[in-house]
């Protein structure tokens, strides 16, 4: 405004326009403020909703912990597994869900591998825990059976008079319990899952390691195996060729022997100048 005043231009109109603009701003301010407040409110609401989605599964899981602990105290072997599963389930319903979505950016392939590796690791840990829980149940059953066996011996009037006898009895009982359990479908399923999930993790772990080896100028297991495979195939090919060569040589040798044998048994060859020779 000052330069306009100095140059003698119409500053009053400009000042009036500016004042009008300010007045409109002030008049619109409540509406804008209201809108801003509404937007802020909406944003907070969205944050709260998402936060609730994130926290709720964990809260639900925590609410069920005392029950599972109580179940475990009553001797329910699977309660420990269920307790752990509460946390895994909460994870899968919250962070796990997001992590399963397609990755973004330059390192998306590696990120996908890392996420797969984490999932595989989680799977294998769950399988290990379930397996160990099964073994713990077997131990508990073995102890129970051992006590029953002692009671049965007492009822028959039989006595255990040495540590070795006691130990052998214990081994007999526990071996029986475990081998029976090992035949059950439940155990077989747990064992298979343990082996399968650990191997699956091992495979993805190798992929991840190889991704880093590549950047470190080092050969990887897969590359070496590929080289071994080609050596194996070449070795087979050489063996087959050698065999074919041997067979051919043997056949030639046989034919040569047959030829010389035939020549010996037919006597000396006919005179080439005899009148019976076709080319005479």
């Amino acid at each position: 405004m000052a330069p306009q005043i100095e140059s003698g231009e119409d500053w009053q109109t400009w000042a009036k326009n500016y004042a009008d603009h300010l007045r409109q701003q002030f008049l619109q301010f409540p509406q804008g403020a209201t809108q801003a407040a509404q937007d802020t409110d909406e944003l907070q609401r969205l944050y709260l909703e998402e936060w609730q989605k994130l926290v709720q599964p964990w809260v639900e899981s925590l609410r069920r912990v005392p029950w599972q602990v109580g179940q475990a105290a009553t001797g329910d072997g699977s309660a420990g597994i269920k307790l752990t599963n509460l946390y895994w389930d909460a994870y899968e319903r919250t962070f796990g869900r997001l992590l399963e979505s397609p990755s973004l950016g330059h390192t998306r392939e590696l990120t996908q591998d890392l996420l797969k590796g984490f999932d595989a690791w989680v799977d294998s840990r769950r399988a290990i825990l379930e397996y160990q829980s099964g073994l713990a149940e077997a131990w508990a059953e073995a102890l129970e059976q051992f006590v029953r066996k002692l009671v049965s011996l007492a009822e028959k009037g039989e006595k255990i008079q040495s540590l070795v006898q006691l130990l052998n009895l214990w081994i007999d009982v526990i071996e029986g319990v475990f081998t029976t359990r090992f035949r059950s479908e439940e155990y077989i399923e747990k064992q298979s899952r343990l082996v399968n999930t650990v191997m699956a993790y091992r495979l993805i772990e190798r992929e991840i390691v190889e991704a880093f080896l590549k950047t470190s100028h080092l050969p990887s297991r897969s590359e070496v195996d590929e080289a071994y495979r080609r050596i194996y195939e070449l070795r087979r090919e050489v063996k087959e060729l050698k065999k074919s060569l041997r067979d051919l040589k043997a056949e030639l040798s046989d034919q040569s022997k047959k030829g010389s044998h035939a020549a010996q048994s037919n006597g000396p060859p006919p005179d080439s100048h005899s009148k019976d020779h076709p080319h005479d």
Binding site: L150, V151, L153, A154, E155, G157, E158, K159, I160, Q161, S162, L163, V164, L166, L167, N168, I171, I174, E175, F178, T179, F182, R183, E185, I188, E189, Q191, S192, R193, V195, N196, M199, A200, R202, L203, R206, R221, V224, D225, Y228, R229, I231, Y232, E233, R235, R236, K239
Partner: protein, 363 residues
């Protein structure tokens, strides 16, 4: 009700003292022993053929004129074949030699990572067939005798079906034939029973390449965890002060844990086709593209099995009678376990003459 435990403090103390005395003596004995003292496979032999890791041995005959048709022992890929010649007084090989047989043995060797691509085709149509050809050529024979042990018995059956013109007589010893038997814990774990989950063999082989010997050992130990992991070593205390028994124990211990890795592709096919698919008795096995039909095994067969075998249940071995095409089929059982078949003193008195006489009756 009377309490069954009658462990008086004095007797318990005496027992513990005696135990400790044995342990102390045993430690003294053990300290004097070295790995080199555990001599195994001592019967004299010579290497007559070698291909990659595989070696064919001929045992030095013990009679002036051995039986003209030699016998080739085909052992399993699992564990080492010196089990049949573990020590001088427990050697199937030595006893067969004394009975006048000419004995050969295939040593499959120790597969390395590079061997993970070896298939059953390589083992049966390759190594085994080449060894058979070598023995045939050395003796100028069209056909020889085969003695297949455990998985080696299964291989020998496949071989006899594919190359019956090269086999004179076939002996199978504790060999699995029908793999879907509920008696076998190993069978159940691998997933042989219809509907049972079983393990993913493809995943195992893809992840590991070769299947480590330690993994196999662990599986075998798990079948009788407390017998083999605890009682065996408690019993060891009783023999620690006996040098001869201690050495016997240690030799066996050496063999049990001397397990080669299993070549991955061969393991894959064996587990999937034989164990899980039970394809041998169905006639669906193919070795190198060649179908294996047990009905084509028309040579005389002697099937030997162990009545208390927990690794290869008797039902798995005796099933052979229903599938083999041979008109001259003999079965013989021994009241021992899988390992007892090789090392039991009683069996070593009966088994070698059974084999030798059976073979000599079929020249």
């Amino acid at each position: 009700m009377p309490f069954p435990l009658h462990l008086s403090p004095e007797e318990t103390l005496r027992e513990l003292t005696e135990l400790n005395r044995k342990v102390a003596t045993g430690i003294d004995n053990l300290s004097r022993l070295r790995e080199e003292d555990l001599q195994v496979g001592v019967t004299p032999k010579e290497e007559v053929y070698r291909e990659d890791n595989v070696v064919l041995y001929r045992y030095t005959p013990m009679v002036e004129r051995p039986f003209p048709i030699p016998v080739l022992i085909v052992y399993a890929l699992v564990n080492r074949p010196y089990m049949v010649d573990l020590q001088e007084d427990r050697s199937l090989v030595r006893n067969l030699l004394k009975l006048g047989l000419d004995v050969y043995l295939i040593d499959w060797g120790y597969p390395s990572r590079g061997d993970c691509w070896l298939t059953l085709d390589d083992y049966i149509n390759g190594y085994l067939n080449n060894c058979v050809d070598n023995v045939r050529a050395r003796h100028g024979l069209d056909r020889i005798n085969l003695l297949g042990i455990c998985q080696g018995g299964t291989f020998s059956l496949c071989y006899a079906a594919l190359y019956q013109e090269k086999v004179k007589n076939l002996i199978t010893m504790v060999a699995p034939v029908d793999f879907q038997v509920k008696d076998g814990l190993l069978n159940l774990w691998v997933g042989c029973s219809p509907g049972s989950p079983g393990m993913d063999v493809d995943l195992l082989v893809n992840a590991l390449g070769n299947i480590p010997g330690e993994f196999m050992n662990f599986g075998f130990l798990l079948m009788k965890p407390f017998e083999l992991g605890l009682r065996k070593y408690l019993d060891l205390i009783e023999i620690l002060d006996d040098d001869k028994k201690l050495l016997n124990f240690l030799r066996m211990e050496k063999w049990i844990f001397d397990s080669p890795d299993q070549a991955g592709e061969a393991y894959r096919q064996f587990m999937k086709d034989f164990y899980q698919g039970n394809k041998l008795i169905k006639g669906e096995v193919k070795i190198g593209g060649k179908p294996v039909d047990l009905r084509e095994v028309r040579v005389p067969v002697l099937n030997v099995y162990a009545e208390q075998d927990h690794l290869v249940p008797p039902a798995s071995s005796v099933a052979l009678v229903r599938y083999v095409g041979s008109a001259d089929y003999t079965v013989k059982a021994f009241p021992v376990g899988h390992i007892g078949m090789y090392v039991s003193g009683k069996v070593q008195q009966d088994l070698p003459p059974t084999i030798a006489n059976w073979l000599k009756e079929r020249p």
